[in-house]
Symmetry: C2
Subunit: 243 residues, 2 copies
């Protein structure tokens, strides 16, 4: 009894060993053998981030890079007047905080856990050796940057050329595409999404988003309750998004 009781705090202090299976199927590491993945994991810190907490902050020294294992992260910019603009959503399986791939010493934006999330992280001083040593890592991180540039670029084009209704429809379609989960009534966005979040993402007002969601709910295109949004008629949204 005494032994078992004293074992518990001890095992809390000792970090659980991270299993290779955490990384073997993820793009930046998929070309590596078990020994290499072991070495990578032995340098990693694994942490849980409660919904709403920051993995890192805009402007802070970029001293670690991250791999999101579970959950979703919102990449957020805060304007001089305190407004938040959501630049991207990052799903599990992607690198983030990879300032070095952008030739930067600071994080260009903040990363906030949109839902309870788990991430591995490594000291940024290991970045160059990862790039040099691990086959496919650099290509995968370039691809990640490229996808995000493409996404930002698309959103910029949308903001420049589309009406609010199209933008909100396309944002919902993008979210179910990236993070959708099949449920009885349709496809649910798999993390908490308030109307405020959606207005920040589409560069419109809370009032407009509320009005649109209420209208679409009456028309049977979406359901929304307690931070959960389900798209019940994706095809109708595609039509609105293209109009």
């Amino acid at each position: 009894m005494n032994t078992a009781a004293s074992r518990k705090p001890a095992s809390r202090r000792t970090l659980p060993r991270l299993d290779e299976s955490l990384l073997t199927h993820m793009a930046p590491f998929e070309k590596l053998d078990k020994a290499q993945i072991r070495a990578i994991l032995d340098h990693a810190v694994s942490r849980r981030y409660a919904a709403g907490t920051a993995l890192f902050d805009e402007g802070a020294p970029a001293d670690r890079f991250f791999m999101l294992l579970d959950g979703y992260v919102r990449v957020v910019r805060i304007t001089p007047t305190g407004e938040q603009v959501t630049a991207l959503h990052i799903p599990a399986g992607q690198l983030l905080g990879i300032a070095k791939a952008l030739g930067r010493d600071t994080y260009p934006a903040s990363a906030i856990a949109a839902t309870d999330s788990i991430a591995l992280s490594w000291p940024m001083r290991l970045w160059d050796s990862f790039v040099e040593t691990y086959d496919g890592f650099s290509t995968a991180s370039n691809k990640t940057v490229g996808q995000r540039v493409g996404e930002m670029n698309n959103r910029m084009v949308e903001m420049a050329t589309q009406q609010v209704e199209q933008r909100v429809a396309n944002a919902l379609l993008r979210l179910i595409n990236q993070t959708g989960r099949k449920v009885d009534d349709g496809i649910e966005i798999d993390f908490p999404m308030t109307r405020q979040d959606l207005s920040e993402l589409t560069a419109t007002t809370l009032h407009t988003v509320s009005r649109l969601l209420s209208k679409w709910e009456k028309q049977g295109l979406v359901q929304s309750k307690r931070k959960r949004i389900t798209v019940t008629d994706p095809h109708a949204l595609v039509v609105i998004g293209q109009t």
Copy 2:
């Protein structure tokens, strides 16, 4: 006489030898010695692009990467409905068309010479060997990507949070910052810039841009004639941009 006459067409067919001084002071190549720069130049094609012509087109196979030696290039996206959105302006001294740094096989946007321009280009199959062989090349290309991500990010935040008048003021300030040339009356944007260009850049209508420029011209903040825009009171624009 006969010899001299026959020499002329011959020297036209032979490409002029590119001098090392073209590249030694440019960031991606500044750590290299003369022999390395010579090897790089020997693989380069040098070409002039008349204003309005494309260096490469959105969606086309990314078979070459470029270094802009002189002029300015607009990076443009074309929407499904045929609207143009200017994502970036690229000044001389920067790499462009570097799809490989984004893990892509195609160009993510079109690059159009905004003014008569000169660029070197290399076959994309040389990209990996440039990254491996030439010290500083990879860091510089990452930094270029990072700056453009930052710029796009800033513009996205502006579009999401600023009024049209602020956006146009900030766009003019950014342009004189990047490409400004001191003239008698103020700072001139150093390439042809129509009101249409400015409306595409700020995601607003031609009508709004015309109205703002006319107002600011009356107030003595800018002068615009024949595709040339000069900012005569930058401080006043800073104030408008921050309001």
